[in-house]
């Protein structure tokens, strides 16, 4: 059980939660996640730790409504309890120090860059947060990321803010030396199509690139293998070995296919939730 201390609506379907979780806050490192559950009979879903504050003993998570459980989470407010929060899970991100790190955040994936960019900037790396969304209103945590990154670059599909176009377009320009310049390391967090496109953009340049995979999970501790991701031809458990993997080694085709394995059931559950008036 973990109490929600405050919340902030970031977009109509995306919400930030500050949660009282002393043990998780103490142990958390960038790139890790928690598993949460909101009701008896509820699913266990992985959610990236966006930020943590060891002094305040809190973690911040950002939840976007995509299925039943995320919808139920987003109905909660300050003072409510989340039934189960367990973590931090997964292996923290490892990026060699001293380079120019570009963090690509697609949609609400930007949230996961928060603690990572803060840590990298603080140790002296040059950091660029490259954030993309369909339109201006869907860009999240821009001010917060400005505060912890050396540079922030914005991209929108409709041109309503920053560069007009996809993050990969701007990334190619950076690689060519424009703006903050060529990255030494790239980490991409967001929809799988975006992460795959980033991997393709950096592959010919041989730029070290990580992606944060988000497969279906159950336990999150290495017990079920449901989170298997093919990396370099080998089967890896994203919850233990990941969730961050070498982007150039990940088999995205398999990952995307596995992600849809329960699409029909998810649709049924969503319809049922809607019919029940959302509870």
């Amino acid at each position: 059980m973990a109490k929600i201390l405050s919340t902030r609506q970031l977009t109509p379907i995306t919400k930030l939660f500050v949660v009282d979780a002393p043990l998780v806050a103490e142990a958390a490192r960038p790139g890790q996640f928690v598993i949460l559950r909101v009701r008896e009979g509820g699913e266990r879903i992985p959610v990236t730790i966006a930020d943590y504050d060891r002094a305040a003993r809190t973690i911040a998570i950002v939840v976007q409504e995509v299925g039943v459980t995320t919808r139920l989470v987003n109905r909660l407010g300050a003072g409510d309890d989340i039934l189960d929060v367990v973590g931090p899970l997964g292996t923290p991100v490892e990026i060699p120090a001293g380079g120019h790190v570009v963090g690509v955040g697609g949609g609400f994936g930007a949230a996961a860059l928060l603690c990572l960019m803060r840590e990298l900037t603080a140790r002296g790396d040059r950091t660029t947060s490259l954030l993309g969304a369909r339109t201006k209103e869907l860009l999240i945590l821009v001010d917060e990321l400005r505060a912890v990154s050396t540079n922030v670059e914005l991209c929108t599909d409709d041109g309503s803010a920053g560069h007009h176009g996809l993050v990969t377009g701007r990334l190619a320009e950076l690689i060519a030396g424009q703006g903050p310049g060529r990255p030494d390391h790239v980490i991409a967090i967001g929809p799988e199509v975006m992460m795959r496109a980033v991997a393709e953009a950096t592959r010919p340049e041989r730029i070290h690139t990580l992606v944060s995979m988000d497969p279906l999970m159950i336990d999150g501790t290495g017990m079920c293998g449901g989170c298997r991701v093919i990396v370099g031809g080998e089967s890896k458990f994203a919850c233990v070995d990941g969730p961050c993997f070498d982007a150039h080694q990940v088999d995205f085709t398999v990952a995307m296919r596995r992600g849809k394995a329960y699409a029909a059931e998810e649709k049924l559950a969503a319809e049922r939730l809607a019919a029940a008036g959302g509870r």
Binding site: R44, G87, I218, R257, R258
Partner: protein
């Protein structure tokens, strides 16, 4: 006086055609008359060899004698002194290779139904609210990692001896395999809940959602004031076949399948939120208890055909005999001497079949079991839409990787003293599947109990 009757008093079971489609318990349990009738068969041997077959040395003929006399309170007390989880063990122990195998009745006749009687006494104890209490007499407290049978029994024993105990469990509910692995139709969760409530009433504190090694380093437990630590983290890491096509949609480990069904209550989807997909035809690879549970669960979820695929024969099968019998009655198909070599899928990435080859048994291998050898030209595809892999599990390396000074063997099992459970790290004890690899509930319980006594000895050496 013992009464000579050749056969066991039968366990009342629900009809296969009825039970194979729901999750209600298969065995219905003895009523008092049947239990007393069966108890009369015990010869009350001078030197009861059955006890030697019991990993926790239950004084078997003593408790059975009380059943025969109709004194269930006394019977329950005797059982409890030796086995803290009788209602569970009475249901899931492989009695045929333990106590009942040694029973002298078994020579010419059938052995006494010790397991059924154990279950009967424990169920009566629960129904009548016969309770156990404990008093805190020591200031020291002990941390237990993992709420499976090993951890729970260790905690219960320590509480009974008067120590403070906190159990840290990674999942959202305690029980270990008893919670996420063994299905409702074999072990109703209400029984597990009761056993856990008994422990809590004795003062055992259970904290879920804490993964030691992630949420807390093991060494932090000492800083937090625990005087000793017991590691009962089990062997939950599923093994896969390593054959082509294993990443196809529709292939999963038995752990995933059973966790979806049991821990997450997926069999009630969409009532519960976690879905489970089974398809029409299911192949389960393996022939242990896990495989039997998976295949019988598949039938209950509506599979039209559920097949066990195993590369050896029924003689090498490790499942309990009763589970095998029940599976046959329920219509499970058994493809013995059949080894999968590839999972076949369609263009959408879903499973359509399991390519196998037939085997024959050759010379014994290092384990002493006959080695299966492929028969050339025997390749064939079993059409299925779900493949469940139940070929074993190994200890989860998470705790060991994040803790200094914990030694493991080459299988990843913790190295621990057999008598005390002491590991390579001072004041850290271990037992159960984490030490032995996948074994049994009663062996885990026995290890937890021995370690509890060793911990007590370490903390307050008898003067």
């Amino acid at each position: 006086m013992p009464v000579k009757r050749a056969d066991k008093t039968p366990m009342p079971v629900r009809l296969p055609e009825e039970r194979a489609h729901d999750f209600g318990e298969v065995n219905e349990g003895y009523a008092l008359e049947r239990a007393m009738f069966e108890a009369e068969r015990c010869l009350r041997c001078q030197d009861p060899v059955c006890v030697e077959g019991c990993p926790v040395r239950i004084p078997i003929s003593d408790f059975i004698h009380e059943v025969a006399a109709g004194d269930l309170v006394a019977a329950a007390r005797i059982l409890r002194t030796a086995n803290p989880l009788p209602a569970i063990c009475g249901r899931v122990c492989p009695q045929e290779t333990q106590c009942e195998e040694r029973c002298v009745m078994g020579g010419r006749f059938r052995p006494v139904a010790i397991g059924h009687l154990e279950r009967f006494v424990a169920d009566q104890e629960r129904a009548r609210g016969i309770s156990t209490t404990a008093e805190r007499t020591h200031s020291e407290k002990v941390a237990v990692i993992g709420a499976g049978p090993a951890g729970l029994v260790c905690a219960g024993e320590l509480a009974r001896m008067g120590y403070g105990v906190t159990v840290y469990e990674g999942l959202h509910a305690p029980g270990g395999v008893l919670r996420y692995g063994i299905p409702e139709f074999r072990l109703p969760k209400a029984i597990l809940d009761h056993e856990i409530a008994v422990l809590q009433a004795m003062g055992v504190e259970i904290v879920c959602d804490v993964i030691v090694g992630r949420t807390l380093p093991l060494d932090r437990l000492f800083e937090m004031g625990y005087a000793a630590v017991f590691v009962g983290t089990g062997a939950g890491l599923p093994q896969f076949l390593g054959i082509p096509g294993e990443d196809l949609n529709g292939v999963m480990s038995a752990n995933e399948f059973l966790t979806r069904v049991n821990l997450m209550k997926g069999y009630t989807f969409p009532e519960a939120d976690t879905p489970v997909k089974i398809g029409k035809r299911v192949a389960v690879v393996g022939a242990g208890n896990t495989a039997m549970d998976a295949v019988r669960t598949a039938l209950r979820l509506g599979a039209e055909e559920a097949t066990i695929v195993y590369r050896r024969s029924d003689k090498e099968m490790t499942a309990r005999v009763e589970e095998h019998e029940h599976a046959i009655q329920e219509g499970v198909v058994f493809d013995w001497l059949t080894s999968p070599i590839e999972v076949v899928g369609d263009e959408t990435g879903w499973v359509t079949g399991l390519r196998c080859q037939k085997m024959r048994l050759g010379e014994p291998d290092a384990s002493g079991r006959a080695r299966p050898v492929p028969i050339p030209g025997s390749e064939h595809v079993i059409p299925v839409d779900t493949v469940i892999v139940a070929i074993g599990t190994s200890p989860n390396p998470l705790l060991v990787r994040t803790t200094k000074g914990l030694q493991t063997d080459r299988h990843g099992c913790l190295v621990a003293n057999e008598a005390t459970g002491l590991t390579s790290k001072p004041l850290v004890f271990a037992g159960g599947d984490a030490v032995t690899g996948t074994a049994t509930v009663i062996l885990a319980a026995g290890a937890g109990k021995r370690a509890a006594h060793a911990i007590a000895e370490a903390l307050s050496p008898a003067a």
